[in-house]
């Protein structure tokens, strides 16, 4: 868990500036990373992150489990990013089932707990074990947040239409490596 709640009996509607600034310090960076990884440019990603904070303000009176706030923020950031990205015609894959529903704390995505630098270092250690083209492709996307599919295609000498499917296959291989050997870092 990224954010430690000191007293779980304290409802979030009593959050003050100090508690909120702790939340911001803890989650703003990961939320930004999620918005950017969803394919947004810098301006749209800023809007997605701020939108998620505003959604939390909208919903704070309904929050019953403060331990879920991090997952909720990350889930909401991704939803906002997909919504804004779809408007902007971004090219990254996205197939959310319901973009317009109001997110609730009943359904934060538990997999958001991996949005963490430590977990990222574990992933990097597995990337080096991948064969080509996966090793190069995942590095390109991870180290060049604004890279476009056309640039990746030109760099790797593959058709533009193959970039998305190849990237997904490589991510799946990375997940398989991690599942086979989850503890080694």
């Amino acid at each position: 868990m990224l954010f430690e709640v000191h007293d779980e009996s304290i409802p979030l509607d009593l959050l003050d500036d100090h508690a909120w600034s702790e939340l911001v310090a803890c989650f703003n960076g990961p939320m930004w990373a999620v918005a950017r990884a969803a394919g947004l440019g810098a301006a749209d990603a800023s809007d997605a992150v701020q939108g998620a904070w505003l959604r939390l303000v909208e919903s704070v009176d309904r929050i019953r489990d403060p331990r879920a706030v991090g997952a909720w923020l990350m889930t909401t950031t991704r939803r906002e990013a997909l919504r804004l990205g779809r408007k902007a015609g971004q090219e990254f894959p996205a197939d959310p089932p319901d973009l317009y529903g109001h997110p609730t704390l009943a359904a934060p995505d538990p997999t958001t707990e991996i949005v963490d630098a430590d977990y990222g270092r574990t992933l990097w250690s597995r990337v080096s074990r991948l064969s080509e083209p996966c090793r190069t492709m995942l590095r390109l996307f991870a180290l060049n947040p604004d890279v476009r599919y056309a640039q990746v295609a030109a760099r790797m000498h593959i058709p533009v239409g193959s970039v998305g499917p190849t990237r997904s296959r490589c991510s799946a291989k990375l997940r398989t490596l991690l599942a086979e050997d989850p503890l080694e870092c």
Binding site: L15, D17, W20, S21, V24, A25, N28, G29, P30, M31, W32, A33, V34, R36, A37, A42, S46, D47, V49, Q50, G51, W53, L54, L56, V57, E58, M74, R78, R83, L84, K87, A88, P93, A94, D95, P96, Y100, H102, T111, T112, I114, V115, D116, A117, D118, Y119, G120, L123, W124, V127, L138, F141, A142, L143, N144, P145, S168, S171, A172, R175
Partner: protein, 153 residues
């Protein structure tokens, strides 16, 4: 690729970038997040979009965009327009407001107050594009606030 796989792929890429410090968040982002807390109205009633597709945070593209929000027996119609890079809001509250009612048109950095006309109309110009919400303050009932709406050119 399933929706779950797409989400996981996004979170993995985000984690790798965090580890590599490849794309740090801009400094102003924290100030924006802090500003969000100041937008809270304790005890307010959140008005949901009555037309979900229209209220999806569309880019205005120079044309007015209509959004309807509803809560309890109150309806707020909000028309957004981007003119020369600034956001204009024209709206109407229904039913017609009580004499002491007022409307706040809020962005995370600028809030403007208007007293609606007897038939409920109000207008604000010169706001920064981005996230906007309308708060309708009623003398005898909790304020009604629209869900946040993103408006860009």
């Amino acid at each position: 690729m399933s929706a779950d796989d797409a989400a996981l792929e996004t979170y993995m890429l985000a984690a790798m970038r965090l580890a590599a410090q490849a794309d740090p968040a801009p400094g102003r982002l924290a100030a924006d997040a802090m500003a969000a807390l100041a937008m809270r109205l304790p005890g307010c009633v959140v008005a949901a979009p009555a037309d979900l597709t229209a209220a999806s945070g569309a880019r205005a593209g120079g044309k007015p965009q209509m959004h309807r929000f509803a809560a309890d027996d109150t309806t707020l119609d909000v028309e957004t327009t981007i003119t020369e890079g600034r956001l204009e809001i024209a709206g109407q509250v229904s039913p017609p407001p009580a004499p002491d009612a007022y409307v706040e048109v809020r962005t995370p950095h600028v809030t403007k107050v208007r007293v609606p006309s007897p038939d409920g109309q109000f207008a604000v110009a010169g706001l920064p594009p981005g996230w906007v919400s309308v708060a309708y303050h009623r003398p005898s009932d909790p304020p009604v606030v629209t869900r946040w709406l993103r408006v860009r050119a």
